[in-house]
């Protein structure tokens, strides 16, 4: 009790505490200002900025090359900034290593799970001092609590490893959880559980930084979004209905040419062919347990889509057609001539070329863009032949220009962004000639702008007489890019639909193996 006329420090204590609490509550969880990073002549980040409030799910968006991954790497201690400040709860921090970032309360889950493949899950957890009980608890929350923790990491499938990585990050009780394209390789049901966890995290007053290219997801789950372009923050949005267009505008720097967002009607020019003569005929193709008697025909100038849920045989189909694996039964014919596809070389010679999802499967990362594009041509150089540098340079330049490959970091292909890497792969086949382009999830992990460029390109190639077989895991985009769609379920084709009927709902039904009757009833 205070006595008359004297000031007791304890009088102010309540107010002081209130003020501190108020400050903490209104203080940003993460505040990044003026972040810079240069790699020699290339500026990856000019003035990166980001503000995340406590108890929020915040999206970080930007085209490939906008500086997004650079910023994330700096927030996780993988690289150090050349300038700028990072504050966590008002305190400036120096994130010198992933350890330091973790200590500062930032935990990240990357696209490649940070787990050593030759150790067991348990050993990986012990390695980082994660509490096994807490990890188990989060795994149960995500409804995958039955993972055998004593199995080797190399024995578990990628989606499981991603969830493990997420559980481990959560068990660290970070202030900010950074999720980098976490839904990219997850099937829909697991992705849904991740969202549940994210919402739970927000309820606990912590925050999530959500990096994704799937704008529909972003709109569904995030509160606000920061958009980066050319290494600078160009906007912060409250996410509401119709924000996707605004986001794309900000990402691309102008009203996007080519029409409306993917969720609406197809916007690509639809010069579909009349019933064409089949260029590629597949009959009764079977491969192990994954593919059973698949038959279809693909005509000149046609873009044929393949829709399927995770692991329904689409990988086997593309492996068999590209020569990566030999089919057990069935025939593949181009222009009526039956092919023996025992290795990719056979397929490529026959004109069946592959653009895989994993860029590193198709490209030589340390070699230059030029070499990568010219690669298949080396097969045709006669004898011990000398490679004519001058001619090579000209048609490569043509291909690069045509695909608008951003060669700012010319030289090693591994320095290009994912989208540009994919364009290099396509450029290679364009430059070297092909009959059928097999595209397996070519736009995985690529930003919206580049995605559209690639789809437009595929359409162009088809219009010029080539044929395209396209598998994409993003159902809304199939209608955008294809003339016809085949739905695969459990290794068999269960439906064939023209593009007009291939909206997401119908495809999803078919992809789950539901027949017409079931659809009518449900």
């Amino acid at each position: 009790m205070k006595s008359e006329g004297s000031a007791d420090p304890s009088d102010f204590k309540d107010e002081w505490c209130m003020m501190a609490e108020y400050q903490a509550a209104s203080m940003d969880l993460l505040s990044v200002t003026d972040l810079q990073k240069r790699y020699g002549a290339v500026t990856a980040l000019r003035a990166g900025a980001l503000t995340v409030a406590p108890g929020e799910i915040h999206a970080l968006l930007g085209a490939n090359g906008a500086g997004k991954s650079t910023m994330v790497k700096m927030l996780t201690g993988v690289i150090r900034p050349d300038g700028g400040t990072i504050r966590v709860r008002g305190q400036a921090v120096r994130l010198r290593s992933p350890r330091a970032a973790q200590k500062a309360g930032l935990a990240a889950v990357f696209q490649d799970p940070a787990l050593a493949p030759d150790l067991t899950v348990l050993e990986n957890l012990r390695l980082t001092g994660a509490s096994v009980a807490a990890v188990r608890q989060w795994l149960t929350t995500m409804e995958i609590g039955d993972i055998q923790l004593r199995s080797l990491v190399s024995e578990l499938p990628l989606p499981t490893l991603r969830m493990l990585d997420l559980a481990r990050a959560l068990a660290r009780e970070p202030q900010l959880l950074l999720l980098d394209e976490i839904t990219a390789a997850l099937p829909a049901d697991l992705a849904e559980r991740v969202f549940v966890v994210m919402r739970r995290w927000r309820e606990l007053g912590r925050s999530v930084l959500f990096i994704s290219h799937r704008l529909a997801e972003v709109r569904a789950i995030c509160d606000r979004a920061t958009v980066l372009r050319d290494g600078v923050r160009v906007g912060v949005l409250d996410l509401a209905e119709g924000s996707e267009e605004r986001i794309v505008e900000l990402m691309l720097g102008s009203a996007h040419p080519g029409g409306p967002a993917p969720s609406r009607a197809p916007s690509l020019p639809f010069d579909g062919p009349e019933r064409p003569t089949p260029l590629l005929e597949v009959s009764n193709l079977s491969l192990g347990n994954e593919l059973h008697g698949v038959s279809f025909a693909l005509g000149r100038g046609e873009v044929l889509g393949v829709a399927a849920l995770e692991g329904q045989g689409q990988e086997a189909l593309f492996d068999a057609l590209s020569g990566r694996r030999a089919a057990d039964a069935g025939t593949v014919a181009i222009r009526g001539k039956k092919l023996r596809l025992r290795q990719p070389y056979d397929a490529i010679r026959a004109g069946l070329v592959l653009v895989p999802a994993d860029r590193l499967l198709a490209l030589l990362p340390q070699r230059s863009v030029r070499e990568n594009i010219a690669l298949p041509r080396y097969n045709r150089v006669p004898g011990w032949g000398v490679i004519r540098q001058g001619r090579e340079r000209s048609w490569i330049a043509e291909a690069v220009a045509r695909l608008q490959i951003d060669t700012r970091a010319m030289g090693q292909v591994r320095r290009l962004s994912g989208g540009n890497q994919q364009k290099v792969t396509i450029a290679r086949w364009v430059a070297c000639g092909f009959d059928v382009l097999l595209c397996f999830d070519p736009t995985r992990g690529i930003d919206v702008g580049t995605k559209r460029q690639i789809y437009t390109l595929l359409r162009e190639l088809a219009n010029q007489g080539a044929s395209v077989l396209l598998f994409t895991s993003e159902l809304p985009e199939i209608q955008l890019a294809c003339d016809r769609v085949l739905v695969l379920y459990e290794g068999r084709i269960v439906r064939e639909l023209p593009a007009q009927q291939s909206d997401e709902a119908t495809l999803l039904h078919a992809a789950h193996g539901m027949t017409h009757q079931e659809e009518a009833v449900s």
Partner: protein
Amino acid sequence: MSAPAGLLSMAARRRWLRRNAWVVGAYAVLAIMLLYERVIHSMAFGAYDMQSLVDPAVSLALAAMSQAVVVLAGGIDLSIGSMMSLSNVIAANWMVNTGFGGSLAISLVLLLGGALTGAATGLVITYSRVPDIIVTLATGAIWGGLALQVMPTPGGGVPQDFANLITGGVRGSGFPVGFVVLALAFILLWFPLRSSRPGLAIYALGSNRTAAFLSGVNVVRTRVIAYALGGVFAVLGGLTLTAQTLNGAASSGATFTLQSVAAIVIGGVALTGGRGGLLGPIAAAFILTLLSTLLGYLNVDPSWGLVIQGVVMVAAVMVGGLLLRRRR
């Protein structure tokens, strides 16, 4: 070798067997070879023969253990042989006029020196960003040159007690001391490490360096620990050479570098890192030593012996590779 499962369930046992099959196989091969030797020389198989096999094998086993630790962490060490030579000649030089106590003290100093040298090598490799193969090639040349400086011609000496500590039979009995030395080295130095966090960090670093780094593993510290431990094993190997030959020679360790690589490959350690353990290389060291002994008994020309060793190594690698592909 991953830690054995705590449960004794069938599944756990089968899993253990699957993961450690290579090492079990190596010991099986060793047992067969030992049995073969017994059959051929059942008459002459006395204490003397056993020790003449064990002592050189122990030196190679220690070299292999040194290499294994470094390779598990994702590196390689081409200076092991030279380190053995250097510790050999320094020991023989200093121990010439000392008693048993003095020789022990000198050994300890040398072991510590080996740890520090290894640590320094690890630091140089990390901070200079020069590949380990080049750095250790260079340090190997340096240690070899220093060894020649210390002892241009073979000489020096050791107290007999010291020699008896590491070689020969235990207190005059038939049981080779070398086994004890190896067992102690394994139990005191490696066993507590491999299931602890620094040990797991070594495996993680060799398995996937990026994943280890992103998980928060201190790459520098882990690499330093691996090379330091390698240095200790290498110096220990050099001391066994001193005890066996009772003097020092600058060329004594020369062949051990490449043989250590052969031993770890045959012992199931992946050269890319992250897979394997130390028990396999120990068995492999004995297999390789016993192989040359057996070839000697069969009156095979020693140069053919080298060829056969090479063939064995290639065969081991091929079998390993085929098994790996089958699993994929």
